[in-house]
């Protein structure tokens, strides 16, 4: 009996010493699997640095299945009480996740801290983390979409790349089509082996072209989904016409061969069509610098504005945010970590390791932080738009993608496809309109 008591005492002491070691509070931090490897590394580093600066707090980083719109794992874990304290959530879905009750309202925590964070962050990203005027997350990074072009391919085709100099402003879509189609190549069967430009590849979403043609996707004053806005219709018409000129089926086969859309996550970075020279132009964002450094360090490329009529300088920004989940075990500690990872230190790590742009105004002025190639992207942020932050954001995104697919296969006119978007999304939005 005596020896048993001794054993129990020894085990108890061990557990106390290791488990409750030095009174450390643990913060469970979830990253979703769709984050780029560079982003995951940056968040991991931020967690480690936070731990070093706050020895009483320990951040356990876990990567879990999920994506920008798919939060099945997160939802079920939180619902069952096994969720994380903090998670990285796509910013444009914050309103939706807040409306479902997944996230903790940060108002009281911010009040306690006594800082007006809305003044620290850029207006666009800050607006995205609000739901009913309350903040539910803090923005960690942002981006901008532009047109990348392969100088070598242009040179081989005898095209003067100076025409794409950003100083000349955005190229007119018609002129751009003339140039891009010169770069198309086919094999003996007529299948494309290279397409100058596929407007819907990578970041060429409906939002990209809707904004490029001056469209608006939501009327906040009247709580109306405006997917049939004339500018948006023109943007989708541009996609429709381009697909028709390429031959929709052949273009689709090309994209499915070299990009494997929508199972795009299965394609190694080095196989991306822009890196392999399968396309000469692509719409993508600044995050590509981190990948390019690894897999295509010698690519001779340039960047310019997204082609648009009437010289309209357009782009849109997305990005991630960090939020505290319902049922978080230690909200105070979680908020402290949130402030670090979405603060200057955390965001600097994301800029350096994941080629992100910051959302903190003060950091944007820090010239030492950015390599020269970032300047064009930073210059676009003042005119950049974002996806409307709505409680039906994920549904709107999915339905817009469906409309885009209908248009690029020429199976529906832009008007029909976009009307279907309004018909599907507006009734759901009406539940939140007051």
């Amino acid at each position: 009996m005596k020896s048993q008591l001794k054993t129990l005492f020894a085990i108890g002491s061990f557990l106390w010493f290791t488990g409750g070691a030095y009174g450390q509070t643990e913060i469970k931090f979830w990253l979703n699997s769709s984050l780029a490897a560079t982003e995951k590394n940056a968040y991991q580093k931020a967690a480690e640095e936070f731990g070093q600066k706050n020895p009483k707090l320990k951040v356990n980083v876990e990567v879990v299945p999920g994506s920008e719109t798919d939060v099945a794992k997160l939802m079920t874990a939180v619902r069952s009480g096994a969720g994380p304290d903090v998670a990285v959530v796509d910013r444009f879905t914050i309103a939706q996740r807040a409306a479902t009750g997944l996230l903790v309202d940060l108002t009281s925590l911010m009040k306690k801290e006594g800082k007006d964070l809305s003044q620290e962050y850029s207006e666009g990203p800050w607006r995205e983390v609000l739901y009913q005027n309350k903040a539910y997350a803090l923005p960690t990074n942002t981006d901008a979409r532009v047109l990348f072009y392969n100088k070598q391919l242009l040179k081989e085709a005898g095209i003067d790349s100076s025409e794409f100099d950003p100083a000349k402003g955005p190229m007119d879509p018609k002129r751009f089509q003339e140039i891009a189609f010169k770069l198309n190549q086919t094999d003996s069967s007529g299948a494309y082996t290279r397409i100058g430009f596929v407007p819907w590849l990578e970041q060429g979403w409906g939002y990209t072209w809707g904004y490029a043609f001056g469209g608006s996707f939501f009327d906040f004053a009247n709580c109306k989904v405006t997917a049939t806005d004339p500018g948006v219709v023109k943007g989708y018409q541009f996609l429709y016409d381009w697909a028709k000129a390429l031959n929709p089926q052949k273009a689709r086969t090309f994209v499915d061969t070299y990009w494997q859309w929508p199972a795009v996550g299965t394609l190694p970075d080095a196989q991306m069509p822009f890196f392999t020279g399968r396309v000469a132009f692509v719409i993508t964002g600044n995050w590509i610098f981190a990948t390019m450094k690894e897999v295509a360090p010698h690519l001779d490329y340039g960047v310019t504005y997204i082609p648009a009529p009437n010289g309209l300088k357009s782009t849109w920004s997305g990005g991630w945010s960090v939020a505290i989940l319902q049922g978080a075990k230690n909200v105070e500690a979680a908020y402290q970590f949130l402030r670090f990872v979405a603060g200057e230190e955390g965001q600097s790590l994301l800029v350096k390791n994941a080629a992100s742009l910051p959302t903190i105004k003060a950091l944007m002025q820090n010239k030492d932080l950015f390599a020269p190639e970032y300047s064009f992207f930073l210059s676009l942020l003042p005119v950049s738009k974002s996806r409307p932050p709505l409680p039906v954001g994920a549904l709107y995104w999915d339905r817009s993608k469906e409309a885009e697919e209908a248009v690029i296969t020429n199976s529906k006119t832009p008007e029909e496809a976009l009307k279907a978007v309004v018909d599907a999304v507006q009734p759901q939005m009406d539940r939140f309109c007051k």
Binding site: T69, M75, R97, A99, G101, V255, A263, A424
Partner: protein, 319 residues
């Protein structure tokens, strides 16, 4: 596992029948004790049945009549979700896709499984090696198979189109063409046929050899023996395969989730994927529960019809 469940269910039904019988007759202490003992033996299953099957099913029907995001209190809205889904064209598209899949994948699965079982049943020395080789694809998880098939079905460099090329069949964009996308998913399902082939193999080996001997004496060839002996005696296993296949087919999810995300043009938007998207992407758990409830009723109806029809085509008379 399915068969184990079946046995337990029958035990449960027998226990209830026994209770009813006891009501009619004088209760004998010994019988009651046997009944209690029997119930005790199957109590883990009874517990599991009520906790993991009966309760979720009833709870799902309740949730289907609420507005619920997964958090907070569900708000009772009656039949509104059902009204909405009857007017939702994407729901009908998903149901059409699901039935298209079931109607194609289940019979094809039966044929493939029987062919595999016949191959596994050959009297050759290396039969165990062949059995292992034929069974191996069924071990691979659907997730991994789907990832692999994205590459195999690549329109230009995929192995599948390369083989078709030898037959002078032009390259097909399997996952990007609405005419072929569902067929591609049906194809994935056939990789799992090895599981059911084992059950067919057991059924094949249970057929008495004297039946074949008698048929041989009467001058029957291989085809006649298969058509008049093997196939009729495999019908109970075919029934089992159809019931299981329809149940799983109506819930087809993983290949579409991994390979196509419901596209192109919603041609692989199966009902289970539609439920998933509504529940976990759009936060409409109540609506998703309504669709699930309807799918459950459809599944149960199809199972009842299949059982009812079995009296006309299933042969239980081995003698």
């Amino acid at each position: 596992m399915g068969q184990g469940n079946c046995v337990l269910r029958w035990s449960f039904v027998s226990a209830i029948l026994m209770t009813m019988k006891l009501r009619r007759h004088r209760r004998v202490a010994k019988d009651v004790r046997s009944l209690l003992l029997g119930l005790l033996f199957i109590s883990p299953w009874i517990f599991g049945f009520f906790l993991f099957l009966a309760y979720p099913v009833f709870s799902n029907f309740h949730l289907g009549m609420t507005e619920y995001s997964g958090f907070g209190e569900p708000e009772w809205i009656g039949l509104k979700n059902y009204q909405e889904l009857f007017h939702d064209s994407l729901f009908w598209t998903s149901l059409y896709n699901t039935f298209y899949y079931v109607i194609l994948a289940v019979p094809l699965g039966v044929v493939v499984a029987i062919v595999l079982a016949l191959a596994m049943n050959q009297r050759v020395r290396e039969v165990s090696t062949y059995r292992a080789l034929l069974y191996i694809p069924s071990i691979a998880p659907t997730f991994a198979l789907s990832m692999m098939l994205i590459w195999i079905l690549n329109p230009r460099y995929g192995l599948f189109n390369y083989i078709l090329g030898f037959l002078h069949i032009p390259a097909i964009n399997w996952l990007g063409d609405t005419r072929f996308s569902k067929l591609a998913i049906v194809l994935v399902a056939q990789f799992g046929a090895g599981q059911i082939a084992l059950i067919f193999l057991a059924a094949l080996r249970a057929i008495p050899s004297h039946l074949y001997d008698a048929a041989s004496l009467d001058g029957a060839g291989a085809w006649r023996k298969f058509w008049y002996i093997t196939l009729p005696l495999l019908t109970p296993t075919i029934l089992y395969d159809i019931i299981i296949g329809v149940g799983l087919g109506l819930q087809v999810f993983v290949p579409a989730y991994i390979m196509t995300d419901g596209g192109p043009l919603n041609s692989t938007m199966f009902t289970a994927l539609y439920i998933y998207k509504n529940a976990f992407e759009y936060g409409r758990v109540g609506f998703a529960a309504a669709v699930s409830g309807l799918l459950f009723l459809i599944n149960a109806t199809v199972a009842v019809i299949t059982f009812w029809s079995s009296r006309y085509w299933v042969n239980y008379n081995l003698e």
